[in-house]
C-alpha cells in the first residue's frame, strides 16, 4: 500500500470543500473512474461527519493507493462526548453501500477511526 497524502484539519464546515477537492485529486491520480471518485468524496465527507458527531474537533485523513483508493479517517482532538444521532445509522449504512471494505476502529466504546477502500 503506497501512502499518497495525509491531511490534518479541523472538521468544521470550512475545510470540507478543500478535503473533497483533495479526494477528487487523489482519485484522479490513482485512476479510478468518475462515479467512484464522486462516491469517494461522499464517503470521506460522511466519515468526517461521523467523527464530528462523535465529538471530534480535528481529524487526520490518510489517502493511500491500494487496488483503488484506501482512506483512513482518524479522530484526533475530542471537543466533547458528541451526541448519538439517528443520522449515524444512515451514515454507516451509506458507507457500507458505497465502499468495498469498511472497518470501524473503537477504543472501548469510543469510535476512533474509520478505514475504507473504494475503486477496483
Amino acid at each position: 500500500m503506497k501512502e499518497l497524502l495525509t491531511l490534518s484539519f479541523s472538521v468544521g464546515n470550512d475545510l470540507m470543500t478543500t478535503v473533497r477537492l483533495a479526494t477528487g485529486g487523489i482519485c484522479s491520480l490513482v485512476g479510478i473512474d468518475l462515479d467512484e471518485s464522486e462516491d469517494c468524496k461522499v464517503c470521506v465527507t460522511e466519515g468526517l461527519l461521523i467523527l464530528r458527531r462523535n465529538g471530534y474537533s480535528t481529524a487526520r485523513v490518510v489517502f493511500s493507493q491500494d487496488d483503488g483508493v484506501s482512506v483512513r479517517l482518524v479522530g484526533l482532538d475530542r471537543g466533547g462526548e458528541g451526541e448519538p444521532s439517528v443520522e449515524d445509522d444512515i451514515s454507516y449504512a451509506l458507507l457500507e453501500a458505497l465502499v468495498n471494505e469498511l472497518n470501524v476502529e473503537k477504543d472501548g466504546e469510543r469510535l476512533c477511526a474509520l478505514n475504507f477502500r473504494i475503486g477496483c
Binding site: D33, D35, D39, V42, E87, D89
Partner: protein, 242 residues
Amino acid sequence: MDDRELFLRYRETGDVADRNKIVEKYLYVASVLAKKFVGRGVDYDDLFQVASLALIKGVERFDVDNEVKFSTFITPTITGEIKNYFRDRSRLVHLPRRVAELRVRIKRATDEILTETGTAPTAKQLAERLNVSEEEVIRAMEAGSVVSLDASASEGDEDMSFHEVLPAEENFFEKMETDDAVASAIGTLNETERKIVSYRFGQELSQTETARRMGVSQMYISRMERKILAKLKERLQSSMAE
C-alpha cells in the same frame, strides 16, 4: 403505534394509508440521502423523487422480523436507486464496467512501462503486461473517444453530421410490433383478468392491494396472475409463429 405494529398492519390489510404513514415518517431519510448526491449534474428535486420512490419500494420489501432498523435497511436501497439513476440518465455514454476497468488498468500499466523504459508502450506490450489480447487493449482505448453527434461524418465538402447519417434506433419497428402483439393478447382477456393486469402491471400494485381493491383473497389474485400470464404467453407465442 410503533413501526413494527404499523408494518404488520400494512402487511395484513394492504391499506395504502398505513404505507403512506410509514413513507412520511421516513421521508427524511430520502431527503438526507438525496442531498448527499447533489452536485453531480442532477437537481436535488429529481434525486429526492428517485429516493422517495425507492423508499416506497423499500416499504413493500421490508421484513419486520429482520432485526435491522428500517432506516438502516432502506439506506442501501435508496443509495442503489440513486446510483442507478446516475448511471442510466445522467451520462450520455456508458462504458461497460469490464471495459472501464480495463481502461484503468491500461492507464496504470502505461505509467509503469513509461517509467521502466522511458518510452510509451505499444498495444502489444500492454496486452502482454495485462494478460489480455491486443484487440481488447485497442478496443478499450478507443472506447474512451467520445464523438459529438454534431461532428462531421465525412471529410469531403458535402459535410453531413453524424446525427444526419446514423440510422434510427433499429429496434423501433420491432418494439411497435411487440406492443401491438401485447395489446392484442390483452384484448382476449375477460374484464376481471384485464382489471388484474391493470392493477398489477399498470399501476404496479402488490397482490395484497389488488386483492383488497377487488374484494377477493390474495391467493385468488396469485392464482389468476399465473393463469393470465400463461394465457398471454400462449397468445404471444402463437402470434410470433404467425
